[in-house]
Every structure is written in structure tokens, then in C-alpha cells.
Symmetry: C2
């Protein structure tokens, strides 16, 4: 499963710099933080590196376990929020109720990309296909973004 293509574009008021387009999958971690106007701390560099190497979406618990830096819970959560706002990562919600994150920003209109959730090992993978609405919305409902969750059995199970 290939990872999604990402384009910048958060929606908060952190910095104007965040609008700058980056190539999340090719730029260096240093560059990404710089372009987004975020300070290059040890944790953040390690976090981005980890996301780049991750084969599937990461929950807080996965990150806490994988990171060398002994980071505080609040700091890690805060960085996940910031990274998401800034478009470096995107969150995915499966049936387990815990949010998992993967590299790349969420596309923001019409169609979105899909995630595969393994029913067996609960791993979440990003798919590189996109999905589009195949039916009409009821009156008054304005869709902005479509996310598809495919449940099934993954290649490792």
C-alpha cells in the first residue's frame, strides 16, 4: 500500500508560513519544519522521521513506544495537533476509537483518500486511491470532504 500524496494547507492561525507547499515525502524533516515555521526540536525531528518510515498509521501509544525521546504525553499530543493543523499528518478514526496518524494532509474538497483497517490486527493503512460520492446529498447538506474506511483483512494477517 502506497502512502497518500500530500499538499499543504491547514486552517488555523498558527503562522502564515504553513500555507507554503512542501513535498512531505521528499523534503528533509529539517526543511519541513522550517517551511512550516515550526522550531526544530529533537522530538519533532524524530517524530517526522518516524512517520516517514512507518508502514501504517500510528496511534499515540505506538508513537510513545517507538520514540527514543522520553516525551511527555501532553507534548506529544500537542505536536500531533500542530502537525495535523499544518498539514504534515492527518488523523484517521477507526472502530477502536483511538485516533491514528499518518503522513500527508487530508484533501479538502470533493473526494478524499481511503484507509484500510484490518479487522484482525487493527492496523490502519493509507490507500492511494480516492473515492467520490456516488449519490446526491439531501437538501441543505454541504459536503466538504469524503473519507472512506475499508474494513477487511490485511496482507499480514
Amino acid at each position: 500500500m502506497l502512502l497518500p500524496f500530500g499538499t499543504g494547507g491547514g486552517n488555523s492561525a498558527i503562522k502564515m508560513l504553513e500555507k507554503i507547499t512542501v513535498d512531505i515525502f521528499n523534503d528533509s524533516s529539517q526543511n519541513l519544519l522550517e517551511k512550516k515555521g515550526l522550531k526544530k526540536t529533537k522530538l519533532r525531528l524524530e517524530l517526522i522521521q518516524h512517520f516517514k518510515e512507518a508502514k501504517h498509521a500510528q496511534a499515540y501509544s505506538d508513537l510513545k513506544q517507538a520514540l527514543v525521546s522520553d516525551v511527555d504525553k501532553s507534548t506529544l499530543y500537542r505536536n500531533l495537533s500542530i502537525f495535523e493543523e499544518v498539514g504534515l499528518i492527518h488523523g484517521i478514526n477507526d472502530h477502536t476509537g483511538v485516533t491514528k496518524y499518518a503522513l500527508g494532509s487530508e484533501p479538502s474538497s470533493g473526494h478524499g483518500h481511503a484507509h484500510f483497517v484490518c479487522e484482525c490486527c487493527e492496523t490502519v493503512y493509507c490507500m492511494n486511491g480516492t473515492t467520490e460520492l456516488q449519490f446526491e446529498m439531501p437538501h441543505g447538506f454541504k459536503p466538504k470532504n469524503v473519507q472512506t474506511i475499508i474494513k477487511g483483512i490485511c496482507a499480514n494477517c
Copy 2:
């Protein structure tokens, strides 16, 4: 927004009776419980009635607040699990991290129905259109069920 059409079919080992097909939207609450082999307690009857009247998906907190019966947390959660296993309701996970439930069972193959999540009021609505995969799965991945989450602004916001 119309509610989804439901067909029975849980996947646990609670009772063989659960395989019996019911018409969730027309059968009486009494009948539904009976056909599923569940005892007709005051709480369950009220719960089903509430789901029938609900205009959108219900989280634990919504139910706790809406129900006349002063039910314990564990009892309510246990009933939600049972109802879901038995195919009376299905859970939906949006970005808020709390599971919301709506009447009807989740379809179990190929395509699934869609949910609309309002970015403003966080209400979840069931849509009656279905979605299908528009791309090929990577080798080794076996899809069983597709759920679509549409984020946007609802008719009330």
C-alpha cells in the same frame, strides 16, 4: 436524510436466534427483542424506541441524557455492544473519538452506507446512498466492508 435499511446478521455466539431477519424500522420494539432472543427489559424497550425516534446518531452521553431510566454506565455500554452484535444498531466513529450509534446493521460486503458528520455541531447523520470501491486493492488485502464518512455542514448549521 433518510435512515439506512437494515438487515439482520451479527457475528457473535450469543444466540442462534440472532440470525432471524427482522424489519428494524417496522417491527415493534417488543418483537425485535423477542426475535433476537433478548429479554425485554424496561431499559431495552426504551432504548430501541429512542433509536427509532432519533434523527441522528447517538453517543453514550446523548443516550444517558435522553433516557428516562436512570441506567448505569456499564449496563448501557453492554446493551449497546449487544445490540450491535445482534444487528439492531451500528456504530460510527467520527473525528471526535466517541462512538455514535444508529438503528440498522452494518452491511457486510462490498459496499456500505455513508455517514455525514457536521463539522459545526458534530452531529452524525446516516445517509441512504451507498458507496463502492473505485480503485483496486493492493495485493493481499481483502476488503469486507466499506464505510464512508462525509464531513461538511449540515442543514441545521
